[in-house]
């Protein structure tokens, strides 16, 4: 099937002892690692030529009380075989006081992704150069992309406060 993925999986499993890796469908390699080893796993992958960070995403597993972060890497080099492989590096962190070390020192373009996750999921990235709001303009008690954020209730609370015209004095 996919030799690049399988050989990379063997290399990763032999050099790190606390990770699980598996080649899922055709061109995808999934690596599960502990919270503390994310930075070392990502930098070792970067040294092996997987130099393009495509996405940092987050999943809210509210039933397990965990947040899962997904770093998607691929290779942008002249070697076409490596470029076919996408690596999904995953890690789980606690939902309360969610905190993780930044990866901006390894991938420069991680900066806006981490700002976005900080804002939408309430994850604090230690060592991030500017963890300031990116998209939102209002303050939220619960970060809005978490599963326990009730969009309907929020809209009712915030926007239904505007009085209707008929309630105003002197108007019908």
């Amino acid at each position: 099937m996919n030799n690049t993925g399988i050989s990379l999986k063997e290399i990763l499993l032999s050099s790190f002892d606390d990770i699980q890796a598996e080649v899922t469908d055709e061109q995808r390699l999934t690596v599960n690692c502990k919270k503390d080893s994310v930075v070392t796993v990502l930098s070792s992958l970067k040294n092996r030529g997987y130099n393009h960070l495509a996405l940092i995403s987050c999943l809210d597993w509210i039933k397990d009380n965990k947040l899962e972060l997904i770093y998607i890497l691929t290779s942008y080099t002249e070697e076409s075989e490596k470029g076919k492989l996408n690596i999904l590096v995953k890690t789980k962190i606690a939902r309360e006081k969610a905190e993780l070390h930044t990866v901006t020192s390894i991938f420069e373009n991680a900066e806006p992704y981490e700002r976005e996750l900080h804002e939408l999921y309430g994850i604090h990235f230690t060592g991030h150069p500017r963890l300031i709001p990116l998209f939102l303009e209002r303050e939220y008690k619960i970060p809005p992309f978490r599963k326990d954020f009730d969009t309907k209730k929020y809209v009712e609370d915030v926007f239904d406060q505007v009085p209707f015209i008929k309630d105003k004095k002197g108007k019908k």
Partner: protein
């Protein structure tokens, strides 16, 4: 000289789209630039979690106003992968032709914005007119001009109507016959050269380091195209080239866009020649009761701006658990733009921004 802070956009005349940049300037030189997105944040990814698999189609195409078709493709491809749906060969060809038409339309729109920015109003109007001809094709094929909702899990919504192939050919010939005019008036024009050469320059190493994709990377000399690396639809069925340039400035980027348009048109002719007969879609389960087994997937394609990806997760319900789009403008607008603007003049902000092909709706989502 005194350092001043200048708010560039969203109301500034030189700004295209709902985007804003805070510039620190000394005289006319930019010392520091801070991108400030969020004016178009509509929370699409959160809204998608509250709609069924099929209801999301009218939503995803609105993420990028300029080229909705690649967004549809991404979502359809992800759903197909999660649900294990095979698509017929003819549908693959139709998808490719449709997406290449969309790419030409999007590039013409980009050319309109760029030419307008440099004051080439005639070229801008031509580009807008030619984009309109492509929208006419879309209208006949799908019923909509801008948002088409044409790509569907299992293929496309309907087959080409009768005589549609000839209409594509005659429209593309009409546009192609104007390429010498475009070249004489714009691409080989000395004014364009002087305004764009060595402006917003990015070296190959910087581009790789900051995660550049699409034309921005190809303008630095790298043949990087997802259509070649991980072929989807029918892109592996025909021969075509990836155009590149080596200088990495605004001039190179716009030339790559021009070459790509011409390559796309040639590709459409080849695809039309080879297109097989058969079904245009496979049947999908009842969309009102459609539950997709729990799994996750990451799919990617080459949109007209570069690598576009979608990370989609299902937990076995009738709605997605999480959808996250990886859009090319995100890197270009938030990381590269801030670096590319340093030491340029205020008059070139729009020039650099459009040559990087940034669209605000794609960043904010």
């Amino acid at each position: 000289m005194r350092e001043l802070e200048l708010y560039f956009g969203p109301q500034h005349l030189g700004m295209v789209g709902n985007f804003s940049i805070t510039l620190n300037v000394e005289g006319d030189r930019i010392i520091k630039a801070t991108a400030n997105p969020g004016f178009l944040h509509r929370g699409f990814e959160k809204l998608m979690e509250q709609r069924t698999w099929i209801q999301n189609f009218p939503l995803v195409c609105r993420i990028n106003v300029v080229e909705p078709d690649h967004m549809e493709l991404m979502y359809a491809m992800a759903v197909e992968k999660l649900a294990g749906i095979e698509i017929p060969e003819r549908a693959q060809y139709i998808r490719s032709i449709y997406l290449e038409l969309a790419r030409v339309g999007s590039h013409l729109f980009g050319l309109w914005a760029y030419a307008n920015m440099l004051g080439f109003d005639t070229v801008a109007n031509w580009a807008m007119y030619h984009r309109d001809l492509i929208l006419d094709l879309f209208e006949e094929l799908t019923g909509g001009r801008v948002y088409h909702i044409y790509i569907w899990p299992g293929g496309v919504r309907r087959d080409f109507p009768e005589g549609f192939k000839d209409k594509i050919i005659s429209t593309l010939h009409a546009i192609g016959s104007c390429v010498p005019d475009y070249d004489n008036t714009f691409f080989n024009n000395r004014i364009f050269y002087k305004r764009a050469k060595n402006i917003g320059k990015i070296t190959h190493e910087e581009a790789i380091k900051m995660g550049a994709v699409g034309q921005v990377l190809r303008a630095t000399g790298m043949k990087q195209d997802i259509r070649k690396i991980e072929p989807y639809a029918a892109y592996d069925q025909v021969e075509w080239e990836v155009p590149t340039r080596t200088d990495g400035d605004a001039y190179s980027r716009i030339w790559v866009v021009r070459d790509e348009m011409i390559e796309s048109v040639h590709m459409i002719f080849k695809l039309l020649d080879k297109m097989p007969q058969g079904e245009a879609y496979t049947k999908i389960p009842n969309p009102f009761k459609w539950k997709i087994p729990g799994n996750e997937t990451y799919v990617r394609c080459e949109s007209s701006r570069g690598e576009l990806g979608l990370y989609l997760v299902s937990n076995g319900e009738d709605k997605p658990y999480r959808a996250h789009f990886r859009t090319p403008s995100y890197n270009h607008g938030l990381t590269i733009l801030e670096k590319a603007l340093i030491n340029e003049s205020i008059a070139d902000v729009g020039n650099i921004m459009i040559s990087l092909y940034i669209t605000a709706p794609e960043i904010d989502r």
